[in-house]
Symmetry: C2
Subunit: 144 residues, 2 copies
DNA sequence: ACACTATTTATAAACATTACAAAGTAAGAA
DNA sequence: TTCTTACTTTGTAATGTTTATAAATAGTGT
C-alpha cells in the first residue's frame, strides 16, 4: 500500500524530469508512511539518523519540488510553521482548536462550489482547500 | 455603512472589556474601510501618517485582540505573511495563483459539511474555512 | 565511464512575528 | 475633576521559519 504510493510518486518524478536522490526518496517515504502532517523541521529531525549530513535547506527545496509536481500540499494554519501532506486521495482536515490534532476527513468534494465560483468571479478555478475547526473528542472530555 | 460597522465593532470591544485606544480605533477603521485584506505590515505602513510613533508590535498585538473577540479573521495562505479580514458577512475567498489577487465570494455556507464532519470524527465543530484557487480574468488574458 | 547539469550542503541572510521592560494612557472611583 | 490601577503602547531585542548563495557532490543519458 505504502510501497505502491511510493512507486507512483517516483514515477511522477521521473515523468517530470526530476532526479531521484536518496534524500528525496527518504522524504517522500516519510511523508507517505507517517500518518501525521509533519513540518519541514519534523521531517528533517526524523531523517537525522539516516542522513546525518542532510541540510534543512534540502528538506525545504524538495518539499517545494514535490509541491510543484503536485505530490504534496502545503498546509498553512495559524501556527508558525507550515505542514505538509502527501496528496493521495481527496480529503479535508479537521483541526482541534485546543490541542492542534489534525484528523483526515473524507467528503465527496465540493465541485459545485468550484463551478459556482467560476461563474460568479470569472476565475478559472483549479483547486480549493477547506479546513474545519472544532474540539476533538479527547479535549471535549477534559472540560476545563 | 462603514460608520455603522465601526460602531458595532467598538461596542463589541466595550462588551469584552477591551480598552478603546486611538490606535485600535484606527486599525479597525482601516480594516473596515479597506476593501483588501491587508497584512500587518500594510496596516502599519498605512497608519504611519496618523501615528508616526506607532510600533509594529501594536499592530500585531491588536490584531490578536481583535481575533480573540471575533472581530477579525487571520488568513494564512502560502505567502510569507498573514492577511487579516474583518468579519462582517459570511464569505469565502478566491485567490489568483498568478498575481495573488483575493476576491470575496459569497456562498450559502457549508453547514452540511460541518454536520457530517461532526458525525464522522466526533469533533464538536465550531468553524471552518475554505479558499478557492484559480486564475483571475486579468491573468487569463495575459497568457504568457 | 564521461560530461552535463541538477542537487546537496553549509552558512548566512531575510523575513515575519513575538517577548520584554519601561513609559504612557484609558476608564472607573472618589 | 483628579486619582489610581491595570491595561497598552513603544522600542528594541530575540526567536523561529524560510530563502539565498556558492562551492562541492552526485544523478542521468550518452
Amino acid at each position: 500500500m505504502a510501497e505502491e504510493k511510493l512507486h507512483e510518486a517516483i514515477d511522477a518524478m521521473k515523468n517530470s524530469g526530476v532526479r531521484i536522490t536518496p534524500q528525496r526518496h527518504a522524504i517522500l517515504e516519510h511523508l507517505i508512511q507517517s500518518m501525521s502532517h509533519p513540518t519541514a523541521d519534523e521531517i528533517y529531525k526524523s531523517l537525522e539518523g539516516k542522513f546525518p549530513n542532510m541540510s534543512v535547506a534540502t528538506v525545504y527545496n524538495n518539499l517545494r519540488v514535490f509541491k510543484e509536481i503536485g505530490l504534496v500540499k502545503e498546509l498553512t494554519y495559524g501556527d508558525s510553521s507550515s505542514r505538509f501532506d502527501c496528496v493521495t486521495t481527496d480529503h479535508y482536515h479537521i483541526i482541534c482548536d485546543d490541542c492542534g490534532k489534525i484528523v483526515d476527513f473524507h467528503y465527496p468534494g465540493l465541485d459545485e462550489v468550484e463551478t459556482l465560483a467560476e461563474q460568479v468571479t470569472g476565475f478559472r478555478v483549479g483547486d480549493h482547500r477547506m479546513e474545519i475547526y472544532g474540539k476533538c473528542p479527547d479535549c471535549q472530555k477534559s472540560k476545563h
